[in-house]
């Protein structure tokens, strides 16, 4: 496992704490254009993901690893289709725990 460049689990609200850093999140795709995908974060905020070559076709859920550009935008480095069923509530709780009380357990 590569630990040299860790990516933090984030939801929409947590993104602002990692601007300029590497993050990882899962969005529900609501629309896509060439070079960008718009989606809803697990805490129901809108996130715009820019970057080259998103997968095609896109599934309902998409994992994105990249650099947080602003409090609602990510420049993607890795795109992964996460399929059409995904428990967003669980993921959202994970993001909160990983950045809160149990931060020390995550790199």
């Amino acid at each position: 496992m590569d630990t040299s460049s860790p990516s933090a689990f984030v939801n929409g609200a947590l993104l602002r704490r990692f601007i300029g850093q590497k993050v990882r999140t899962v969005i529900q795709v609501t629309g896509s254009e060439i070079g960008s995908v718009v989606g809803k974060s697990t805490d129901d905020l809108q996130i715009v993901v820019r970057g080259s070559s998103p997968p095609s076709p896109l599934t309902t859920y998409l994992e994105v690893i990249g650099i947080a550009e602003s409090d609602n935008a990510i420049r993607a480095e890795t795109w992964t289709n996460f399929g059409n069923t995904f428990d967003t509530q669980n993921y959202n709780e994970l993001c909160k725990l990983a950045n809160g009380e149990f931060k020390h357990l995550f790199i």
């Binding site: 428990d87 509530q89 669980n90 709780e93 994970l94 725990l97 009380e101």
Partner: protein, 604 residues
Amino acid sequence: MENSVTQDGIATVLANQSLDSSSVRPEIVVQVVDLKPAGNRYTFSANDGKMKIKAMLPATLTSDIISGKIQNLGLIRLLEYTVNDIPGKSEEKYMLITKCEAVASALDSEIKAEIKASTGIMLKPKHEFVAKSASQIINEQRGNAAPAARMAMTRRVHPLVSLNPYQGSWTIKVRVTNKGVMRTYKNARGEGCVFNVELTDEEGTQIQATMFNAAARKFYDRFEMGKVYYISRGSLKLANKQFKTVQNDYEMTLNENSEVEEASNEEMFTPETKFNFVPIDELGTYVNQKDLIDVIGVVQSVSPTMSIRRKNDNEMIPKRDITLADETKKTVVVSLWNDLATGIGQELLDMADNHPVIAIKSLKVGAFQGVSLSTISRSNVVINPNSPEATKLKSWYDAEGKETSMSAIGSGMSSSANNGSRSMYSDRVFLSHITSNPSLGEEKPVFFSTRAYISFIKPDQTMWYRACKTCNKKVTEAMDSGYWCESCQKKDQECSLRYIMAVKVSDSTGETWLSAFNDEAEKIIGCTADDLNDLKSEEGEVNEFQTKLKEATWSSHLFRISVSQQEYNSEKRQRITVRGVSPIDFAAETRLLLQDISKNKTSQ
């Protein structure tokens, strides 16, 4: 003399305003008319054909009335009484009877004399005679006014609610709301056939009626689904709560002599479906119980139809899942099967965006996804029912429910259940909980759910036995050829193999051995015992048998287990048996872990 009243009896009563046992007995016999309850006693009019006088019976005689000794239109001999004025109406009097005896049971009609008396009270026009059971009378005393209306029916029809095993003759008018198939059975006393129907009366009360053998054959074709019948001469007994499917303390048995007559050319009634709704968050208690339940909920989503292959006959049956929510802010998945999936299911899919309210009668509660509901052949789905519950639910949904976040009942920790068959998610333990309590299951088997990995399957154990294809019991090789089943007392050329195996399981807290029987072992191994036996006997470089066992190892399952004590070489040992195996639902497991984390946080 026995069946007539005393001439001018009432006049004699009025002349001798009190009578006690010391007096000379004038032998006054009167007819009881208009017998009705008043508080804890009964009133009636004493009739001698010419005159009537209002009378009251003491509470001590109530039992005689209920038992039928004293009947309306019957005759009684007055032994002790007093005549009093009705306050404020000096011309009217009433007789307070303290002792009397029944002389004759109900006559055909009220005794009337041609001559009208000039004194006393004029004869009133005859009232319609009404038979009343004890429970009806009790109903009336409670102020339940409904029975009055149903008495207007042309026949003397008893409401189902009034039937009990201690009652003589009755006739009911009911609609067949479910008709079972004819089943054959075999037991120690021989073979036979049986079928049952569910009957619903005008008020929506239901009862199950069962017919055996000759009666079953006689009435099987007579009873048609949805038709209305007059039924009499059946017998009632207490319902077996284990198998009851309708809300009634009694069930009915019809024999050959029972009367079943179709009510044609008559005003029909449509029985209202009576619901007994269980709130979604209370469904946990019903998981894997025999009780059927009713739910009402707002449709959240409707799936397309899927085809499911039925295990026992490989038939494909359509299924559709719908998600319902109610005011408890919980959702539950209801699987509609067969016609309900394709018919009403399609209708629901078309209107899903409008979030209709639906009520479903008779659902089975299963442990799939924690808690889930499933229709059976007699389930009944009503879209947007016209009921106060539905109205309330709809307004709740429109006002706040729409915006509320809901969670699936299966993921919740509804641990209100009280026995072994709880939800997979409600009585979760680690293996150490079992292994560190050697006395667990000492009194009676205890049930748990546990998530664990298969860590070892001993390849050289006896994994299966030869089983009878009919009864699954063990068979022995017959003398010449084939197999002998002791239980069926029958020889068959073939037998099937059924698993009985020990598997070792592990989790983060420890490991233990479980014993698994055929169905559960099949899920663990991934093939039948016959198939595995075939693999074992195959020769070749790669041993498929070993591979199969290896594949089954280090996979995780959700186990439903029972823990009991077994004596082995005069030493007590824990025996852990697999009662159910299901695949891991990762999202549900994650929710469970999150719950544990938050519980740990609050307890610290």
